[in-house]
């Protein structure tokens, strides 16, 4: 294993030297007091003509502007490139004959050597694989700076707020400087973003508090060649997100937040969203049952093994079994029956607990729903000697809270469809004589307009309008 650890180390060493360069445990220093501009011609022989290992030297904190120029103009064909800067994870747009110039703008906050190369398997790709941006560290200076931070907007969990940090040296604002923003979390301050100060020395960024309670917002300026670092902490009380009434088809998402979703609908191409909790029992029962059966049978066998261990601990068979037979019988049926009883009781107890938890979630989070079936025909009728295509009935009514089965039948000779955009319901094209079912939960009361989903189905396509009324 030690040798293996050494081999792993060797593997680490064969990686490029910047493999260890992404350490951001201490906020990097840097402001953009000067902009360093480079122009790099990219052609099939390398960078700037024939240089395959072009190095661009920078100091930490430099604002950088690199212009890449297409250099394969004399070729009879196009030889597009995309330049990627590793470490900063920046890439240009496609550099090609039709789009010969692309730029990269960034502040050199991280120190180290960062490769840049062409991502596209272009002609001469091997000559465009070893460019490098070398960022040298710069120690901070001595001129004292002052940083102030404030928030603009209501500090409520989940709502946007503007963070503004003002950096000054004496009475003079410091522009073009990098300010890092941190917010306290369970695990200490977390960097939530970075902004550059404007001519008034103000750096701004928008933020949404994910947590509530007493939190700290910290702005940090890491210093430059002449300016000393400074930071400022602001303690804020973030109000908890107000409880919202349930909205249609809420499904708790994996981040633990309630995000309103469009109503749950099973259309032609939709797969039911099956979760252990949070959806009606009818939708998840078959899958849950299958999972419980497979996993449950394994755990039931474990229970049998645990029962054996318990028997080992007791050291001797139960009294009743000892009476029933001699040593020979011990290893046969009577002992087993004794354990079977215990296992049965255990299994029943487990089943009761599982069923209880299950019922709590199912019944506690979703009300019992009734199913309501509604039929709509799409048909052709004559009105004032003109062919009209209508939904029949033109207005259908459903009751809030019910599970709705909407049966759409096209009795016309043309292809039509039914769409209720507000509810994200769509039958898709329904051929003549065909019937399509849409299932959804009517969780919002209101009036929803029904349209035909097949443009050009008939001259009066635009007049094909119906209504679904969901009453509370």
């Amino acid at each position: 294993m030690l040798l293996f650890a050494l081999a792993l180390l060797a593997f680490a060493l064969i990686l490029p030297p910047n493999a260890f360069a992404l350490d951001t445990s201490t906020p990097p220093a840097g402001t953009s007091e000067q902009i360093k501009a480079f122009t790099v011609i990219v052609n099939r022989y390398g960078f700037n003509g024939t240089d395959k290992t072009l190095s661009l030297n920078l100091s930490q904190g430099d604002a950088v502007h690199i212009t890449f120029v297409y250099g394969d103009g004399e070729l009879s064909y196009d030889n597009p490139h995309v330049i990627f800067l590793r470490g900063y994870d920046l890439r240009t747009t496609v550099i090609s004959r039709s789009n010969p110039i692309a730029t990269l703008d960034f502040v050199a906050t991280e120190t180290g050597t960062f490769a840049f190369y062409c991502l596209v398997p272009c002609v001469g790709m091997e000559n465009l694989s070893s460019g490098a941006v070398v960022v040298a560290p710069r120690p901070p200076g001595n001129l004292p700076t002052a940083l102030d931070v404030m928030l603009d907007g209501a500090t409520i969990q989940g709502q946007s707020v503007n963070m503004a940090a003002t950096l000054a040296q004496g009475s003079q604002p410091v522009s073009n400087a990098r300010v890092d923003f941190y917010v306290s979390t369970t695990f200490g301050p977390m960097r939530v973003g970075t902004a550059i100060t404007d001519e008034k020395g103000v750096a701004r960024m928008g933020y949404r508090f994910g947590e509530s309670g007493n939190l700290a917002v910290i702005a940090e300026f890491a210093g430059t060649g002449s300016l000393a670092p400074s930071s400022k902490q602001l303690n804020v009380l973030v109000e908890a997100r107000p409880e919202e009434p349930p909205i249609v088809g809420i499904l708790p998402n994996a981040m633990g937040e309630n995000v309103p979703r469009l109503p749950y609908a099973v259309g032609q191409n939709q797969i039911p969203d099956i979760r252990a909790v949070g959806v009606p029992l009818s939708q998840s029962l078959p899958v849950i049952t299958l999972v419980l059966l497979i996993v449950g049978s394994v755990w039931a066998t474990y229970a049998y093994v645990f029962a054996q261990i318990r028997a080992i601990k007791s050291g001797s068979p139960p009294e009743q079994e000892r009476k029933e037979g001699g040593e020979g019988k011990l290893q046969s049926t009577s002992v087993r029956q004794g354990f079977d009883k215990r296992i049965l009781i255990g299994a029943v107890l487990v089943a009761i607990v599982v069923a209880g938890v299950f019922a709590y979630y199912q019944l506690g989070t979703t009300p019992q729903v009734k199913t309501e079936t509604i039929k709509i025909d799409i048909k052709e009728v004559m009105q004032d000697n003109i062919e009209r295509h209508i939904f029949d009935p033109g207005t259908v009514t459903a009751h809030k809270g019910n599970h709705i089965v909407l049966i759409v039948t096209n009795t016309d000779e043309h292809v039509h469809g039914l769409v209720i955009p507000e509810l994200n319901l769509n039958t898709g094209p329904v051929n003549s004589g065909q019937q399509v079912e849409l299932k959804f939960d009517a969780d919002i009361a209101g009036t929803f307009t029904i349209f035909c989903s097949v443009p050009g189905c008939a001259p009066d396509h635009a007049q094909m309008i119906g209504q679904l009324v969901v009453v509370a």
């Binding site: 398997p121 994996a254 099956i274 849950i288």
Partner: protein, 458 residues
Amino acid sequence: MKESTSIPKLLQPLANYSKAYYAFVGFLLGVIGLGAYAYSTQLQNGLVVTGMRNNVLWGLYITNFVFFIGISHVGALMSAILRLSGAEWRKPITRMAEAITACSLAVGALMPIVDLGRPDRILNILLYGRIQSPILWDFISIGTYLVGSLVFLLLPLIPDIAMLRDRLSGVSSLRQRIYRTLSFGWRDTPYQQDRLEKAIGVMTILIIPIAISVHTVVSWIFAMTLRVGWNSSIFGPYFVAGALLSGVASVILAMAFFRHFYRLEDYLTPKHFRNLANLMLAMIIVYIYFVLNEFLTPAYKWETAEGQLLGALFTGEFSALFMAAQVGGLVVPAILLSLRRTRNILGYSIASMFVVVGIWIKRFVIIVPTLARSQIAEFWATYQPSWVEWSITAAAFAGFILLYTVFSRVFPIVSVWETAGIGEVPSETASPTTISGFGFTASQASSVQIGSVSGEDL
């Protein structure tokens, strides 16, 4: 440090702790400390301190996860299959294999949690997880497997722990309490033997499908994703084969280690190494067959997106790692295991080292290139693991070795009651009680002459 001459070889490591042992444990704790510091950095700053970004969102952590879950298979599969087939030679090595399972699972199962930016939200997988998500399948199957493998390790340990409880004097009260609790009042009665036989028998059969299903489910995390390189139907058996291969290699390494440092030459004979080496060679051939299937079929067609990935693997930026995995992890060990000159314990150990490193790199090569080579060239990306990831990886390996080492110092790493008569002078009263079925023999532990053992306090 006292050393009693009456301590049998198998129990000497439990009684005498050398300075070298403490130094080794201290070194491992140091590496784990570095990993803990790195992890605290990650917790404070988020996953931005790793090399993972939007495109390459799985890196070293998931590589370690798949690797550790893989080597965990050996205890379950190899041990269970050898028990079922009644292979007598397996007795000195099954516990080593089973302990590898438990230790590697404990470390491997932590890796996805480390991979989470917000580990405090792990409970949400259970509360809000979607049943059609392979992540939830993983959660359930690995949890089930962890419990099963611990029980599978514990059951054959019970008679040995009872012996330690009765015979190992002078150990700390904590260790005495552990022995007392985990021996479950074992007095070696026929009734207890009957129960133990039943329990081991059931677990031996049950653990095989569980182990196979776990690594199949791990492979489905990839294979259920519509991504070039992962969109494959052979991933289940492919991963199981790779898991078994790396697991057997790990057992050979562990055997070589214990044979040398614990002086177990009488128990771990060249025959054991030879048998396992043959098994490893067979698994290498099976694995090469899978590798051919995995790459020949798409490479023959060279469909656009597949071709870009294969190009990166065969001749592009991942070619060095790719070839290291295939040549270093499969071809070189196969040669070492085949040549007469290298068919010895040193040769087997070197071959196993190549296999273990090769399979680890193979896991990396399965995971990262597919993510780096998005089907749209505009979104191609690179991945450079940061020092945080390397430190946590080193800590994971150190943690695994530490768990394994401590286990071998608290419990006999070779089953005493199953190997009674090997390497010891048979006692006059030794009359092993043979329990039929499932290919194991339960000799009466109390009848094994182990003498009076005096250990030193922990």
